[in-house]
């Protein structure tokens, strides 16, 4: 069952889809025409799916340079009358926030969805911000799906709400929803819309102060109608238990855990599950909570519903006790799960939890932090950087780094990530460190990240005469999120041939006089160029360009050109430079103390053969 089948107009057909794939199905069914994103986990597979099917489905899709641009692309489509979506990971909305806040004022014509994929527990993120706050901040409706089929239905519903109330609608998923797979049953496809037409209306679309003052008032006036929508939304529903002595209000992934735990242990709890969670259905909540002495609030991260429910309770003088974040089991930290929900309910219902941990010895397991892949060109660059800096005893070199696979340089033995804030921040930070200290500054940024937000900071560096080396680690793809194209490679979001934008020409165009391109696999050349860059006054840019090894591996496997390396034990002196300084995951020390290369993991890049001072690493015969 190929994902291409997701575009079929076969109502009733069922597929086992990822939440992110279900977004695309909902978009197709809802007659969506324009979609834009900047890839970011846990939202990435929405874009990957569109990349495969958009053309065939008659959708325009792009990987924009960053989330702000993506939001602007999708919003322009909306005000031209087309249904559109912009999607991103939670921190991406911070980038897009400037324009996003204004879209609530300008409103929409075609349905406009802003999808934010949050990351409780921070599986792939630098923070755990709860983007439901953004819906409250901007005063737009918020939908929180619980599973892939609900995502499909909610995308269509969001278009309707958006058009009816002329307002952007936010859909907020979390990692567990985006990366949940479940059965999705297809509905019919709406094929009405085609090309948009932008009818001018400066009073609506140009929020200069005199218009903005009126638009803000209109936005506030829209709230009442949206709240009525929430009151009757099919995504807010009550599940009664046999003997419902208690109430519980929940949303999103937590709703799944709560429903299962209540059913499994036959707990006397009635559940109000909220899918339309801003504005909250005030009457529905009022009428629900007044039935119980105690109502639990089961929501991940911030106590947003909880606080609103307490306000509703006070407003109507209801005596019900609300228990949400109890500071013990439920806190604003990390995602919930069925165990956490069970423990919370058992604690507050005074039920003894008789689950026992398995009786096994406490055996320490090896730590497996994510690591640069075998053959990764970044490893070669980091090896060279450390080698040159060791020569000069520059231990206090500052390494501002950025968001991408190369962030993994934080791991020993490289230790090449001293500070990270957000996309593009390595260059901004390098500006500051260059002014604030006399330490050498060597910053790293990826190719996609350079386009995303690195360029303005590089212009700043040149203009303000800062002094640092910037490595653009150009692996010709957006690797970490699953190999999406970007402006530096000649493919667009629909898989068509596209003009390529040159990183080195941008750097030269800014006026930087030291701009070199190296192949990181060529260790000697990389080290020579880096050495020169260190001595260069001002900003120097080194583009370390070599295709991501995962892409190369996939191609080589297909072509059947697969070699691996091994260690000639007769020549190996056990110096362990390949282990201690290069640290390829394919190289390991065997139980007999000998250094060996794992045949499964080795991808045959051969860089370790150049790292070895004794020529002991050879092609496996």
């Amino acid at each position: 069952m190929g994902i291409e089948e997701i575009i079929l107009d076969k109502p009733g057909k069922k597929m086992f889809l990822l939440g992110n794939e279900a977004v695309v199905r909902g978009f197709i069914e809802g007659g969506g025409r324009i979609a834009a994103t900047y890839p970011g986990t846990p939202s990435s597979e929405i874009g990957n799916t569109l990349f495969k099917v958009a053309r065939e489905a008659g959708i325009y899709f792009e990987f924009s340079t960053n989330e702000k641009v993506a939001l602007e692309v999708a919003h322009a489509a909306s005000v031209s009358g087309l249904r559109s979506i912009v999607f991103m990971k939670h921190v991406g909305l911070n980038v897009a926030a400037d324009s996003f806040m204004s879209t609530a004022y300008t409103g929409v014509r075609g349905g406009f969805i802003v999808l934010s994929a949050d990351d409780p527990s921070m599986y792939s993120s630098q923070n755990e911000q709860d983007n439901r706050t953004y819906a409250r901040f901007s005063k737009i409706p918020l939908l929180e799906p619980r599973n892939p089929d609900e995502i499909r239905r909610m995308v269509k519903y969001a278009f309707e709400i958006s058009e009816k109330h002329k307002i952007p609608v936010m859909i907020r998923t979390t990692t567990r929803i985006s990366h949940m797979r479940g059965i999705v049953e297809f509905g019919p496809i709406d094929k009405k819309r085609d090309k948009g037409y932008f009818e001018k209306n400066p009073g609506q679309f140009v929020p200069v102060p005199q218009n903005a003052r009126r638009l803000h008032k209109e936005l506030i006036e829209k709230q009442k109608g949206i709240r009525e929508e929430s009151e009757k939304s099919p995504f807010n529903f009550v599940l009664k238990s046999e003997n419902g002595k208690f109430g519980a209000i929940t949303s999103s992934a937590a709703s799944n855990y709560l429903i299962d735990v209540v059913r499994k242990y036959n707990l006397p709890i009635d559940i109000l599950s909220i899918g339309f969670s801003h504005p909250l259905p005030e009457n529905l909540i009022k009428d629900f909570i007044k039935n119980y002495d105690v109502v639990f609030v089961v929501e991940e991260l911030e106590p947003l519903m909880e606080n609103d429910i307490i306000l509703i309770k006070e407003k109507y003088g209801i005596k019900t006790k609300i228990i949400g974040k109890d500071g013990d089991i439920f806190t604003p930290l990390y995602e919930y799960n069925p165990d956490r929900v069970r423990k919370f309910l058992f604690k507050h219902l005074n039920i003894e939890d008789d689950k026992k941990s398995p009786q096994v010895e406490d055996i320490p397991l090896p730590s497996r932090p994510p690591v640069l892949c075998p053959g990764c060109p970044h490893r070669a660059t980091y090896f060279s950087v450390n080698k040159v800096l060791r020569k000069y005893h520059k231990k206090d070199t500052i390494f501002p780094s950025d968001i991408g696979c190369y962030t993994l340089g934080i791991q020993p033995p490289f230790n090449t990530a001293d500070m990270i804030l957000s996309m593009g921040a390595s260059v901004g930070l390098a500006n500051g460190f260059s002014k604030a200290t006399d330490q050498p500054v060597v910053a790293f940024i990826g190719d996609s990240t350079f386009f995303h937000a690195g360029i303005p900071a590089l212009i700043n560096a040149q203009h303000n005469k800062n002094h640092f080396v910037l490595f653009v680690l150009d692996n010709q793809t957006t690797a970490m999120t699953g190999h999406q194209p970007h402006p530096g490679i000649p493919v667009d979001g629909l898989g068509r041939k596209a003009p390529k934008v040159s990183i080195e020409e941008i750097a030269k165009g800014i006026g930087i006089d030291f701009v070199k391109v190296v192949d990181p696999y060529n260790l000697k050349e990389t080290q020579k160029v880096f050495d020169e860059a260190l001595k260069h006054e001002g900003v120097s840019v080194i583009v370390a360009r070599r295709e991501c090894s995962l892409l190369r591996d996939a191609r080589m496997r297909k072509e059947g050109k697969w070699i691996t390396y091994e260690i000639n034990q007769d020549k190996c002196t056990q110096c362990r430079i390949c282990v201690d300084q290069f640290a390829c995951p394919a190289i390991f020390i065997d139980e007999d103390g000998k250094v060996k290369i794992d045949e499964v993991l080795c991808d045959g890049c051969g860089v370790c053969a150049d790292v070895c001072p004794f020529n002991a690493i050879e092609v496996r015969k």
């Binding site: 069952m1 599973n147 320490p364 090896p366 730590s367 932090p369 994510p370």
Partner: protein
């Protein structure tokens, strides 16, 4: 109360855990059963721990409660032990014994435990443990990356496993093409025979 058949699949990024989970899930769909699953994508895939949780039955949460796993499929021995908290008295294990040693061990910042000791501890909590070197079998099938289908073949023989072998094979046929299909079917059969010999 058993409300669903709960599967936990553990291993290391790159071992094909997502593909394995997806084939099981699509097989459940094919047999008209409800199935929900939670996957790991993104940063952890780069050599990190990968755990898929899957529940076949009328349930909402894709995450398996502590002690509730009916089946643990471990593509790596230490990763079998990492999910031991999901085990209760009824859990079956299918474990590949070939280690994937992370670089942290080579650098001396963590250690890899004795595999026999791991298995012995797992056998303390479960009577039903099928252990074999799946990597050897995948080599024999023609590709080291067919380990996931070796494991699936082994799982298909378990008396508790709720899906039919025919369904699994049919979904495999839809998921792989050409040489890859040949290799993976071979791997599946090797896994199946191995598990049968070991009393799966």
């Amino acid at each position: 109360m058993r409300d669903a058949f709960n599967i936990v699949i553990s291993g290391v990024g790159g071992q094909g855990i997502l593909k394995l989970s997806k084939i099981i899930g699509e097989s459940a769909l094919f047999e008209g059963k409800n199935v929900v699953m939670s996957e790991v994508h993104g940063m952890a895939q780069r050599g990190g721990v990968v755990i898929s949780e899957m529940r076949i039955g009328d349930v909402n949460s894709p995450l398996v409660e502590e002690g509730d796993a009916d089946l643990i499929i471990a593509l790596e021995p230490s990763e079998a032990f990492r999910v031991i908290g999901k085990t209760g008295g009824k859990t079956w294990f299918v474990i590949n014994t070939e280690k994937v040693v992370p670089f942290t061990v080579s650098l001396g910042i963590s250690s890899y435990p004795d595999v026999d000791k791991l298995i012995e501890n797992i056998k303390r909590v479960s009577k039903n443990v099928v252990v074999f070197n799946g990597v050897e079998l995948s080599k024999k099938a023609g590709s080291l990356i067919s380990l996931n289908m070796v494991m699936l073949g082994a799982v298909s023989t378990l008396p508790i496993f709720p899906l039919k072998e025919d369904t699994l094979v049919k979904v495999m046929e839809e998921s792989f093409k050409g040489d890859a299909l040949k290799v993976n079917k071979l791997a599946f059969n090797f896994g199946k025979e191995e598990a049968k010999q070991r009393g799966g």
